[in-house]
């Protein structure tokens, strides 16, 4: 039981540490996405590279309850369980390129076009850039 408690504490600490990362990138740009019956709105987004906070909110649909940013088949960020009236999001440090946005099964995939140079933070630190790219 003690090992379990330790493991859980470690996990909780890791989770909170992971949350800390979100705060750092709050200085960047914000994108607001609305969940609608037809999927994400807007469905096509174009923005400059850099730290980006995605805020998804559901103003009244039961067709879409999540928001994802993907690159090809990779999920870069995701927020689930957004029922009517709920909102939430995540932060990503976006490099230039083409990404997809998606509001869950049964809705169409949209596009996210990121323009410009790599973000300053990533450019200044190649290791960070590598980490972001995964």
């Amino acid at each position: 039981m003690r090992t379990l408690a330790l493991l859980v504490t470690a996990l909780a600490a890791a989770s909170l540490a992971a949350c800390g990362k979100d705060d750092e990138s709050k200085g960047g740009q914000k994108v607001e996405i609305k969940l609608t019956d037809a999927g994400c709105s807007p469905l096509h987004v174009r923005l400059p590279a850099g730290p980006t906070r995605f805020d998804a909110s559901n103003d009244g649909t039961d067709k879409a309850t999540e928001f994802e940013v993907l690159q090809g088949d990779r999920v870069l960020g995701e927020k689930e369980n957004l029922t009517e009236g709920l909102s939430g999001g995540f932060s990503l440090d976006l490099d230039p390129g083409r990404y997809q946005i998606w509001c869950g099964q049964g809705t169409p995939k949209g596009t996210l076009e990121v323009t410009g140079k790599a973000s300053s933070a990533a450019a200044a630190d190649p290791r960070l850039a590598a980490a972001v790219r995964g």
Binding site: L11, A12, K63, V75, F90, Q105, G134
Partner: protein, 277 residues
């Protein structure tokens, strides 16, 4: 109310299913001592999840989704191993056991396996619990209609617990060899579903990026947002639009295991197998 109910039910039923199966199995093995530990572990897990949920809410941060999906993947894979172990164990032991031997069979289950089962129940609750706690708080706090949304989520979780309890009671009532025959196939489907689900969460955790094309469309059956979808996804791991990776691991597990379970056992007096399980 319905959307939050569906999510509460789906998140809850995944944990309730695993805990219910473990509890019924331990009860069948007459391990009441271990069963008490299961309930204690579940209680501790629920409190932990509530604490983490409230803490995240107070410091106004989101649950890190990627780590959450990673946790779900690891616990899901462990659960596949556990259910497989139970299927094999029951296949070996259930048949030909006479009534009075059933009770002695308890001795065959090694202490290590018992501890693993208790730990599994604990982690099964943690796996869905963080997300559920965060969702419940959010539903009460910021939904357009907090009363209805919160009530829906709570009722969803309550129904999930009732289903888990039903599995436990139902599993206890039938005798050991019937328990095996009736549930072995269901367990194969559950484990295959857990595996497919692990492929799904591994993708969302960023670990699995291969074979992500849509394999088939089951959304006519598993209508997203419906009560049946939450039960089919929560209990059998079926997605409305499974990817090639999800469908592949599902079939790779389900087909051989179903064959293993259904293959008639030769009826011969066999030498007592070394009971190491």
């Amino acid at each position: 109310m319905l959307p939050t109910f569906v999510i509460g039910l789906r998140e809850g039923v995944e944990a309730a299913l695993i805990v219910g199966i473990i509890a019924a199995f331990l009860r069948q093995e007459n391990r009441m001592d271990a069963l008490r530990h299961v309930w204690a572990g579940v209680g501790v897990a629920v409190l932990l999840c509530a604490a983490v949920g409230v803490t995240l809410h107070l410091v106004d941060t989101d649950l890190p989704q990627r780590q959450q999906e990673g946790l779900e993947t690891i616990v899901g894979l462990a659960a596949v191993g556990m259910v497989t172990f139970m299927i094999v164990w029951m296949r070996r032991h259930a048949r030909g056991l006479r009534k009075e031997l059933e009770r002695n069979a308890a001795g065959a289950l090694a202490q290590g396996s018992i501890i693993a089962l208790v730990a599994m129940a604990f982690f099964a609750v943690l796996r869905e619990g963080f997300e559920t706690a965060v969702f419940l708080l959010a539903a009460f706090q910021s939904a357009a209609n907090p009363g209805a949304a919160g009530a829906g989520a709570v009722i969803g979780v309550a129904v999930a617990i009732a289903i888990g309890w039903g599995i436990y009671r139902g599993g206890v009532r039938i005798n050991l060899s019937r328990f095996f025959r009736l549930t072995a196939l269901v367990l194969v489907l559950v484990a295959a579903g857990l595996l497919a689900q692990a492929a799904h969460t591994a993708h969302e955790a960023g670990w699995l990026n291969l074979l992500q094309d849509q394999a088939l469309d089951l959304s006519w059956l598993i209508v997203p947002g419906s009560v049946t979808s939450s039960l089919l996804t929560g209990m059998l791991g079926l997605q409305p639009q499974p990817t090639v990776a999800e469908a592949a691991v599902y079939l790779l597990y389900a087909v051989p295991m179903a064959a293993y379970v259904l293959w008639p056992q030769r009826s011969r007096p066999r030498a007592p197998a070394p009971q190491t399980a």
